[in-house]
Symmetry: C2
Subunit: 230 residues, 2 copies
DNA sequence: TTCCGATGTTGATCTACATCAAACCATAAC
DNA sequence: GTTATGGTTTGATGTAGATCAACATCGGAA
């Protein structure tokens, strides 16, 4: 007789990767999934670790960072609820390059790699989704490389502020909320905290943005977009 | 009655992605594959193009570049025989970010995306290889990001010179050949040609390398590896 | 051989950004 | 309230690497 879905199953069923999978599949996956409660500051995986599966964020926030031997670190990704990370390393025998750390009290699921492999063998549609997921990662990372190598700090900041208003159909004025503290955002943009602060200041003086703590109002999106340099 | 394999089939059968696939599969794939003769300087695909499949290099050399609006360009990848590119975009509906151009007279194969999808549906082992391939890409790109953001120009150059002598079992002295002209290598390392030239010069003065055109001799690999800084 | 375009080197100068240091501000614990 | 404590700003100064410009070298075509 059918039983009501467990919380884990319910959540898995809504993760993009697993959406619309038959109930039985979800149950099988859930049986190889463990929930993790991670208070802010928890290191979920560390550079050099071997990969046993991938993580999905139920709630909270996670940063992926690269660490230099000299201790400095660089944020490569910021992720929130519904997003997952660590998939790629399941398919190659390599240790992690990045370290993942919660920057907010969080709850995550860890899905074992064996069940992922089994699911790939069972259902080509699942394999295709996995492929699409990795492809998106690659695409985004490539566009980050483009930012780092071809754009100035100012341009990266502007790009970040406008990242949700790409296509048309955006109102001319918007307000956005920084997803993390300014030091973390700065690092994500490959800037120092100080430089990020000064860049925002410049944009304020030019009347292109209004900053209020983590809240930033952009009175004229189009003007900001076309603000080419100092 | 069986016929001898066509050149295209023979080559496909040796591409890592297709290796050990049954003869019949190779034949099906080959039927959706076209050969391309591309003299040096041919643009194989351009930023903004839509993706219809992926490319495999039979012989020659190809560079993948990012182009800034102002015309400057940045080499993100250099590839030779047996290597392939453009797989990721088959799985998502996005235009290319990079431009691919031959930097030597080359011959390539173009494999149609439809046959790749069919093969994924037919054989989960194929899907897994595809996943592993994309994962490697992602891993390498991440390690490039690490270089660009966390390492100095000097460190990137040294890393490049030593990239084939990572593990142990390497002799203490080696000679390497730059795979392309110095301008291209410099761009791959996110340096200007001038800065690359000066960096090599510094290493020469320190007695760590001997440069002879495109040929570079490293008398003591270990000493170069531990050469930390200016 | 001579010429020519592509490739490499060298020097002088500039600049975007980092670094260091100090002050400042908010929130929460006491 | 006071005091910590993380986050943020501001200023002074330093520097890795870019840019601009001239020159040197090389390899192929005539």
């Amino acid at each position: 007789m059918p039983r009501p879905p467990l919380p884990t199953e319910k959540f898995l069923a809504n993760v993009p990767l697993f959406r619309e999978l038959p109930r039985a599949d979800i149950q099988r996956i859930a049986s190889k999934t463990v929930a993790i409660d991670a208070p802010r500051g928890t290191v979920l995986l560390r550079r050099g670790d071997v990969c046993r599966g991938f993580h999905v964020i139920v709630f909270g926030q996670v940063k992926l960072v690269l660490q230099s031997p000299r201790g400095s670190e660089k944020v490569v990704e910021l992720m929130g609820p519904g997003q997952s990370f660590g998939e790629a390393l399941m398919f190659i025998e390599e240790p992690y390059l990045v370290t993942a750390e919660t920057i907010d009290d969080s709850k995550l699921l860890h899905v074992d790699r064996e069940i992922v492999f089994a699911e790939i063998d069972r259902d080509p549609r699942f394999a295709r989704r996995m492929l699409a997921g990795l492809s998106w990662r690659l695409h985004h990372l490539m566009s980050d490389v483009e930012s780092y190598t071809l754009r100035s700090g100012m341009q990266r900041v502007i790009g970040y502020l406008l990242r949700d208003s790409v296509g048309n159909g955006t109102p001319s004025a918007i307000t956005i909320n920084l997803e993390a503290n300014k030091g973390v955002i700065a690092s994500r943009l490959n800037l120092t905290q100080e430089h990020f602060s000064r860049t925002l200041h410049q944009l304020m003086e030019a009347g292109l943005i209004e900053v209020n703590g983590r809240e930033i109002r952009i009175p004229d999106v189009e003007r900001l977009r076309t603000h080419d340099s100092d």
